[in-house]
Subunit: 300 residues, 3 copies
């Protein structure tokens, strides 16, 4: 098994499947039983920038397994005193059994793997990678449909800068799926990912009726030099109740959250809305990640 | 049983008694035994403004029960990114089994009950309610006297703006007690509460000799347009050693803390002083609250 | 046994040995077994100034023992509201079984021992004391050499202002060791400690070849009125690969961390480098401290 989880590109389909199946196994356990798996084990969370969901769902995941957590946040005193971040990371990880690193700088997590023997999880490093988000996205899809192969999956919104959709597209390349990219011309998926991944269709129309999965992301104002252009484009890709109702009844609508207004709250109660379940799946998905990296098997 | 704890006014006497008796039962257990009640259970604390005592005593309460805690503090990144606070609350609560919400805005906790199935505890919402403080106050009184009925209870200080004394008065309306309100004219208890609750006496003199319980609160400078008036009034209601000694030997002196100078440190060692025990009672009282809302029975 | 750990000077050799041997015993246990020692016990960490390593290693220590932790950080609301810090400390410690206090002010920890029955650990109080650092330093030396008596121990760098080396020197006075003080004339060890402790040699040359232990600390720029003098002096006491290689093969190089550039990263892989192990030893050393103060025996 892999010892660290740094990039979704380091994983083969069999690795991904291991994570997903361990997550699925552990989710079936009662709380009391799960909490007997990792007593005395500690997860350190080293967050050089804040990330509410990633930190809290990792904490919850470790705690559900009977372990505990310690957190070093960005206001880190030693770091401010000029200490090298790998020194800090090495020391903090060394207090514990496994460590999640979040950083605004690309490569921080991988650099730390060379300094410590403790398994390192990349909790997001700048614009680069956020592999645990991708695994929870896949976990959500698999949980809903039983299998990922054979699905029609649309990604919509800011496909140019969205780390989430880049990683998801790369991960889906391990599966037999049809991918449709839906975005304004200004925020298209980078060419090199489109080529690498094998995309069925790119469009700037909201073509969503036949999809099994629609994965949306926020279009950020900052990306548009022309603010009027932004206003025009933004409204084209807003999902209100009417548009969600156009989707297949058994399709699912995903979003990494937070959403601002690209999905209207009125849509939350529609049968397709699955973004809150998706967020909640962060906990079992990350339980699976922790167990796999520690090499601990779940006995149901 | 109630599923959420939002306002003391939602509770009937029997509800209050359930909370108090569960707290009392769980307090009798050994640490090891108590810690076997909720293994694998998680409490989320969602604090949109800081509140040291409330957060820490809830964390301690959940941990004494063998559970764990995750905390989202006010510097919340997603909230700062413009995310709707109910979205954040829904996600964070969803990682856990029960959630405490503290907010500077009235109604936040109740709003969240409509968005999530996880039991919600109001840890204070602006000037509105702070029901867990009231339950720990009642727990303290009951623990000292065995029963609340029949007591003479004085409330003193800032009765106009003090959320704590408003809720306590409303809760005591469920009991047969004699209530005396003691305050400068500038900070009298609001008329509607006085009427609702059935008060025996209102006075601006420090009449405390015959009381069983004296509950004091700080008079805040900001409330007085005329600062000289504040200085005059403030000193009238300071409890120094001499004044506390005037109280009955078996009376108790309570204060929600922090105190500044309305109770002199010299009074701490007097037999009536009970505010530090009161603070400490926050832990068993909140253990009782958590257990009641989760519907878990204590077997002694 | 002592109930509090406030100053290394409060301890006799037998006290120190108790801490070290409990730490050593508990380190031998499996994680699962250790985590069964203190279920339901809570450590409060009251940090009036940040200290990453001290806080996190105490949290990890308590968690390894099956206990949990609550943290009150310097942004303490009640403290900001003007509350007396001993009131806050008394309340927070009272929620828990044992409390670590870190303060920028000398005497805070000792003051708190007079206000609460909960065992208090001094996690560093200004320029005064940091006894748990000293115990982990001794634990590291003893772990490496089996015994402390008979060793040649050098302390190098800022011996004038370094709280760590002051306490270590005082603690070593309980043992039969040879102490060599190595520093620029500007940062010599204070005369009263030199006299009290019994130092074999003071030098401003880097004489390190025959030492068993070299304990280095950072020389801080702020200490030098003449910055050119600082630059000259600083480089004299930098440990690069070449200099570390001059040391005995079985000697150890220690540093309380964080280091800036007084030890070059290239030295990390040399056999003498032991500062990361030293940091890691903070966890078992602090497990020993917690157990001794709570009077809990370890049964291996």
């Amino acid at each position: 098994m892999k010892k660290n989880l740094i990039s979704i590109n380091d994983l083969e389909r069999s690795d991904i499947e291991s994570f997903l199946s361990t997550a699925s196994e552990v989710e079936k356990l009662t709380k009391r039983k799960a909490s007997d798996i990792l007593p005395g084990c500690i997860l350190s969370t080293l967050f050089l920038e804040p990330s509410t969901r990633t930190r809290l769902s990792f904490e919850a995941a470790m705690q559900r397994l009977g372990g505990t957590t310690i957190n070093l946040a960005s206001e880190v005193s030693s770091v401010q005193k000029g200490e090298n971040i790998t020194d800090t990371g090495k020391v903090v990880a060394g207090y514990t059994d496994i460590c999640v690193v979040r950083s605004p700088y690309e490569g921080t997590a991988r650099m730390l793997t060379e300094k410590t023997k403790v398994p390192i999880i990349n909790g997001g490093d700048g614009a680069n990678q956020h592999p645990t988000q991708t695994l929870l996205d896949l976990f959500t899809i698999k949980k809903e449909f039983g299998s990922i192969d054979g699905l029609k999956i649309g990604m919509m919104g800011d496909l140019k800068y969205g780390r989430t959709v880049h990683s998801l597209a790369e991960a889906l390349d391990n599966y037999s799926v049809e991918i449709r990219l839906i975005s304004p011309d200004e925020t298209k998926m980078p060419e090199h990912i489109v080529k690498e991944v094998g995309v069925e269709e790119e469009t700037n129309k909201m073509k969503i009726k036949d999809l099994d999965v629609l994965y949306t992301t926020r279009i950020q104002k900052e990306r548009f030099p022309d603010k009027q252009e932004y206003e025009r484009v933004k409204d084209v890709f807003v999902l209100d109740e009417e548009r969600v109702k156009e989707m297949k009844k058994d399709a699912i609508l995903m979003h990494p959250l937070p959403r601002i207004d690209e999905i209207k709250p009125e849509g939350d109660k529609l049968p397709q809305a699955r973004y809150f379940e998706q967020a909640k799946n962060g906990v079992p998905a990350r339980m699976g990640i922790i167990l796999e990296l520690l090499g601990v098997e779940v006995n149901v």
